[in-house]
Symmetry: C2
Subunit: 457 residues, 2 copies
């Protein structure tokens, strides 16, 4: 596929289908990576997709199927014969089957479950019962399991016999008679060691594992920390029930990052992509915080109203409002973003709050003084003639407001995310939008206080 443009490829495939050159098409499909099929299918007709799909080997067909988006999966299933459906469901890994079932309408789910063996149906039902976003909900039950008394040679036999249906063979898990997790074996160690050795001799003891109920975000963090390819999942009695593989952990990392981005922009998080989300759903996800923040910001308006007499005398004061609000908001969101991200990556802990405050105050002073000086210069240049008699006081009011605003903003931005975490809320909601709204009130109040004081209003 290298070098060949996607569009050319689509054209070529359409042509081969039309001319019924099935052999040539078959050879071509063999060389395309499963992960490249979804974008390839984008411009093809459903009938063409079905023809291509039927030309794939069983294993590849299942791989491709797992990569498709749920709309296309549903369409394909509706075109499948029962036999075809059975084949794909049996080839899919258990976690992919569960994902599929969660996305399909109930009529399709019924057809899927009808074509699954009794044993698998039991496992699927169990997996479906784990809480959303838990380790149990993202794990697979297809892992290599060793009894504790086998040799490495036995281990290789087990892999040879069962490996094809396991999601990873790189790690094998050793359990005792009551299925309690004893350790894991890296296939690398197996390959290097003497084959007559007992498996327990090369086993990694005290393996890091997670409970089925563990939050998937923490599971993903542990992958990042321990550099594992797979992580065992155990129940409360430490019995091995599944594994989470690293490809799913990466998906979780990306999903959790997307969720943080969305929360930080005052959006209700949404699992679908931008285009798959309807206009109505988009509006629904956005309106809640917009209303809350809009109504909150009227408080700032009320503060301004209280100082009507001040800007009646010095109307120029009003023109500084946007600059003060924007700068306060930006100062605050810089700090809150750094803290939110630091908390998410475990680089900042709740107990660091005093260190954060001390750091933010010093940064705020530096930043605030520079902002104040630059603005003072601008005020002299812009209004030097117009307000000549009062220019120093005006610059003083705005400059002091900027310094105070920077300090307030950086403190609010630095502390609120930590407070949220302390209260077991998601720190990501304490981001730019809320911080700006809070800082606005403070900075406008400070501004008019300084103005009435220094300008004797």
């Amino acid at each position: 596929m290298e070098g060949m443009q996607e569009q050319d490829l689509q054209e070529k495939i359409k042509k081969l289908i039309k001319e019924k050159k099935i052999n040539e098409l078959h050879n071509m499909l063999e060389n395309i990576n499963s992960a490249d099929f979804p974008s390839l299918f984008e411009e093809l007709e459903e009938e063409e997709i079905l023809i291509i799909y039927r030309l794939l080997t069983k294993v590849k067909a299942a791989e491709v199927f797992a990569e498709l988006d749920s709309d296309l999966q549903e369409k394909l299933i509706n075109m499948f014969t029962d036999k075809e459906l059975k084949t794909v469901v049996n080839e899919l890994f258990m976690d992919d089957t569960v994902d599929l079932i969660e996305e399909m309408p109930s009529s399709v789910v019924k057809r899927i479950l009808k074509n699954v063996g009794l044993q698998d149906r039991k496992i699927i039902n169990e997996l479906l019962n784990y809480p959303e976003d838990s380790a149990g909900s993202i794990m697979t039950t297809e892992f290599i399991e060793f009894k504790e008394d086998i040799t490495i040679q036995d281990g290789f036999e087990i892999i040879r016999k069962t490996g094809l249906k396991k999601e990873t063979v790189y790690y094998a898990y050793v359990v005792d008679k009551s299925r309690k997790l004893l350790g894991f074996v890296d296939v690398k160690e197996m390959l290097i060691a003497d084959r007559d050795k007992k498996i327990t001799e090369i086993m990694e003891e005290n393996p890091i594992s997670v409970l089925t109920t563990e939050d998937q975000e923490n599971v993903a963090k542990m992958f990042d920390k321990y550099n594992y390819i797979a992580m065992p999942v155990v129940d409360k009695e430490n019995r091995l029930v599944g594994i989470v593989t690293i490809d799913d952990a990466i998906d979780v990392i990306q999903d959790e990052n997307t969720e943080d981005f969305e929360k930080m922009a005052a959006l209700i998080p949404n699992e679908d992509t931008y285009f798959k989300t309807s206009v109505f759903k988009h509006a629904k996800n956005r309106i809640f915080w917009l209303l809350v923040l809009m109504l909150s910001s009227t408080i700032t308006g009320t503060i301004i109203q209280k100082y009507e007499s001040a800007f009646a005398v010095v109307p120029i004061l009003v023109s500084f409002i946007p600059m003060i609000m924007d700068t306060g908001g930006n100062c605050g969101s810089q700090s809150s973003t750094l803290i939110i991200r630091g908390l998410a990556l475990d680089e900042i802990k709740i107990s660091d709050v005093l260190k954060v405050i001390w750091k933010e105050i010093r940064v705020a002073l530096m930043v605030g003084i520079i902002l104040a000086l630059v603005t003072a210069v601008r005020i002299f240049l812009q209004y030097g003639n117009e307000y000549a008699n009062n220019i120093i006081n005006l610059a003083l009011v705005v400059g002091l407001t900027l310094i105070t605003t920077a300090i307030i903003a950086k403190l609010v931005g630095g502390v609120l995310p930590i407070l949220a975490k302390k209260l077991k809320l998601d720190p990501a909601i304490m981001a730019a939008p809320i911080i700006s709204t809070i800082v606005d009130m403070c900075s406008i109040l400070v501004f008019f206080k300084f103005a009435t004081l220094i300008l004797n209003l």
Copy 2:
């Protein structure tokens, strides 16, 4: 370690060191995962750390060393004998050695290079020369390589002999005589297949590979897409020069996300953690955008100034400014965040710009009308008595401004990130801070236009 609190563990280790119970300490350390040592070391003295470090096996010592932060690495190296330094550097994987060298001051670098073999020194120098953030800069040169004419059995022999010094044995790469990449072999396939088969029979042909110069962000995206454990890196002649492993890809994903978070909060991205960054550096990273945005927002101030006569007659107008600015900013940053994230995850393409515009207009209309209605009700309730004769017109001015602002904000927020990408800039800079500043100008202008028109000012 399970169940045992970190603090207890630290206390226990301190006690064992004091009482010189070296054997007991040694056994205890064996059961601690390499990735847990950094936090364990946090509360220990340097001398204690060195004692612990010297009790670890060679392989584990190198693993632990690679996990430490650069300050502690530097301190340890300064305490190491030349022989100890040589051991750790020889045990480290090449990519970790390169990372280490990049972080150390030149005196330490000299000592490190002195203790590295000539061959390795050559490789290190080559790796150091790849552009920052390229595939070459994050790859390792320790991978398993097969010639094309060997059997699977031969392959196992090669793994057995060389596997210990390779970063992964899960994939082996097949090259021809001129070292051109032909394909890769998954160890799973090797374990399942007949050992007499030629390696080329089970080899995955046309492997996905990346150039040494490829941006690390794209490399990470390909891991996400293709679900690989490692990715081959080739030069322009398609000769295999290294591999990137998935643990490094996860680090890249997290780093790139952090960079986006920082850019979206008007920060200059910074690779160090919050606490490792000095106050001065923090201020430096924050001041640039604060100044740019502060000076830009004076334009909004100038617009307000032009309408001095309007709010001299109806002073209440001024109190709506914060609400309009905040709502516009929030509307805009919601859209820009969704688009920036969609672009980063390749869910939105540059060519989708018209689809985005059409979607945003409809969402903006829905959201804007709701905001306008809620605000109208609030205005009636809050100012119904005070401004009785003009209340409908006032509500009309503010309501129409909100609807128009929502549309402008969502269009600006939706289109600018795509435009940035089109211009080969990072879409992440077109986030809340810039969008707010631009939308502020528009919304305040719209507000006073409606006000002068409808209220006859």
